[in-house]
C-alpha cells in the first residue's frame, strides 16, 4: 500500500470547488468582470513594479489566484478583489526576494488600493475596438497577418487558408496562435498596440 499520497494543492482546490461556485459560473464571471479591468491592472502593475518585462508574469499569477478564489465563492466586488490580489502578490514578491528592497516595501505597505482604483470601467465602442484590432493585425508578421485576416475576416477554413497560402494546416494554426496572443494583449491589456514579444 505504501504511504497515502499527500493531497496536493490542486486536489484541494478541486475538492473545495465541488462545494463552491459551479465552474462555468466562475468562468463567466472571470470573463465578464475581470478581463475588462486588464488595462487598469497593467497600469497599476507598471506603476508599482520596476521590471516591466515581468508584468505579464505577474498578470498571469494574479489571474490564477483570482480564478482560484472565484471557484470557492464569487467575490462581491471584482474590482477591489482584483486589486487587493495584485497588491498582495507584489508584497509577497518583495518579501520573498533575497535583497529586501526596503523602499519598495514601504511604498507598497502604504499603498492605498481604494484610492488607487481606476475610474469607471472603460467602455469600448465597437469602432474603437475594431481600430485596435485592425492596428494589432497590421503589426503582425506578414504571413501571420494574412492567416488571421483570411480566417477572421474572410471566414475561410484552415484547409482553405493552407491551400491559398501554400502552407500546411499546422502552420496556419501556428500563425493563428501567434496572432491570437498579440490580439489578446491589445483587446484586454493596452490602449496602444505593440509587437508580439
Amino acid at each position: 500500500m505504501g504511504d497515502r499520497p499527500e493531497i496536493g494543492q490542486e486536489q484541494m482546490v478541486r475538492d473545495r470547488a465541488e462545494a463552491g461556485t459551479p465552474p462555468l459560473e466562475a468562468d463567466a464571471w472571470f470573463v465578464r468582470e475581470i478581463l475588462p479591468l486588464e488595462t487598469s491592472l497593467m497600469q497599476y502593475l507598471a506603476r508599482n513594479w520596476e521590471n516591466k518585462s515581468e508584468l505579464p508574469d505577474l498578470r498571469q499569477e494574479i489571474y490564477g489566484r483570482v480564478c482560484e478564489a472565484a471557484q470557492l465563492e464569487i467575490p462581491k466586488s471584482a474590482k477591489s478583489f482584483l486589486f487587493a490580489t495584485a497588491r498582495n502578490l507584489l508584497i509577497d514578491l518583495v518579501r520573498h526576494s533575497r535583497i529586501v528592497q526596503i523602499e519598495a516595501m514601504a511604498d507598497l505597505e502604504t499603498l492605498n488600493v481604494a484610492s488607487d482604483q481606476p475610474g469607471p470601467e472603460r467602455e469600448v465602442s465597437a469602432r474603437e475596438e475594431l481600430r485596435a484590432v485592425h492596428a494589432a493585425i497590421q503589426r503582425l508578421p506578414p504571413r501571420c497577418q494574412e492567416s488571421v485576416v483570411l480566417r477572421k475576416i474572410e471566414g475561410l477554413s484552415l484547409r482553405e487558408i493552407g491551400l491559398r497560402m501554400n502552407i500546411s494546416e499546422k502552420t496556419v494554426e501556428r500563425h493563428l496562435t501567434d496572432g491570437l496572443r498579440a490580439l489578446a494583449d491589445v483587446l484586454f491589456g493596452e490602449d496602444k498596440p505593440r509587437a508580439i514579444p
Binding site: 490564477g64 489566484r65 470601467e121 485576416v149 480566417r151 474572410e154 494554426e173 490580439l183
Partner: protein, 326 residues
Amino acid sequence: MSGEVIKKLPLSSDRRVVEEQAAAFVIARRDREDWTREEEVELEAWLAQSLFHRAAYLRFNAAWSSADRVRALRSSSLKAPDISRIRNIVMRTAIGFLLLAGSGFAAKYFWPVPTSTYETRVGAHKVLHLADGSEVELNTDTVLRVAMSGNSRRIWLDRGEAYFRVAHDPTRAFVVDMGSRSVTALGTAFAVRRDTQDIQVSLFEGRVRFNAKDEAARMPIDLVPGDTVTATDSAVTLSRKSKHDLDTSVSWRRGVLVFNHTPLSEAARELNRYNTEKIVIGDAATARTTIGGTFEATNAAGFARVAHAVLGLRVEYLSGETVISQ
C-alpha cells in the same frame, strides 16, 4: 526552479509555456474542423491541472470571440484581396434571403397570424404577460405589436422602450423588430429602446442576436450579457456596461430615473419622455450644469424643485412648460 541562470520570479508557473499552450488549444478547438473527442478530453485534463491554465484559456478564448464580433462591423480597409468577391456576393445574397425569411415574410404573407397592439400613454408603465410565458414591460409612450403562432414569436416595437424577459423555447425564436433592425432571442432578458432614429439594445441575461438589414452593419452581432448595441441610421456601435450602469439604464422599471453627473439638458430630455408638462432649459450654461440623484420619472415638478433648491436655478412655469434657467 532548478538551476536556472536567469533569476526568475518565484511564481507558480511559466507564463510563456502556459500561454503558448492555451492559445494553441483555443485555435485548435475553435478553428480546426477535425477536433476530436480525445482532444476534448485532453483539453479538459489540461484545464483541470491548474487554474493558471484555466485563466489563460478563458482569456484567449474571450479574445478570439472579440475578434469575431468586430467582424460584424468590418470596414473596407480590412478586406483581404481578391478571392472573396464572388464569395461575398453569394454570402450577401444568402444573408439577404435569410433576413427576408427572418423578417416574417413567410409568416406575414402565407400564414397570417392575429396581431395585438399594446400602447402606453406618456408617463405610464405596463406589464404584459404573453401566452408563451414571456413578460414584456412597456415604458412610457410606447407602441408595440405582438403576434404569437405555433412556430414564431414576433414583436414589433413601433416606438418607445420595453424590457423583455423571454420564456425559453428553442423551437420558436423570439424576434423583436424595429424597422430595419431586429433582435432574435431564445431564453433571455434584454431591453430595447427606440427613439425616432436611434435604437438601443441592452442584454441582461442569456444571448441575443442583433440583425440589421441595412448598410451600417450587414453581419449580425451576437450580444453577451453586459453588451449594449446602439444603432443610428448611419452607424452601429457595441459597448460594454458595468452591471451597475446596466441596471441604471432600466431604472424606469422601478418608476425612477437615475442621473449621475448628467447634464441638465439630457436629464430634461429623459424626464420629458414621461411627462406631458415639458421641462425647457433656458440657456446654454444651465444646459451644461450637471445633476445627480434618483428622481421619480413622472414628477417633473419635483425635479424642478431640486434644480431650484440645490443648484440655485430659476424655475418659471409658463403655459404648459417649466423653464429652468440661471
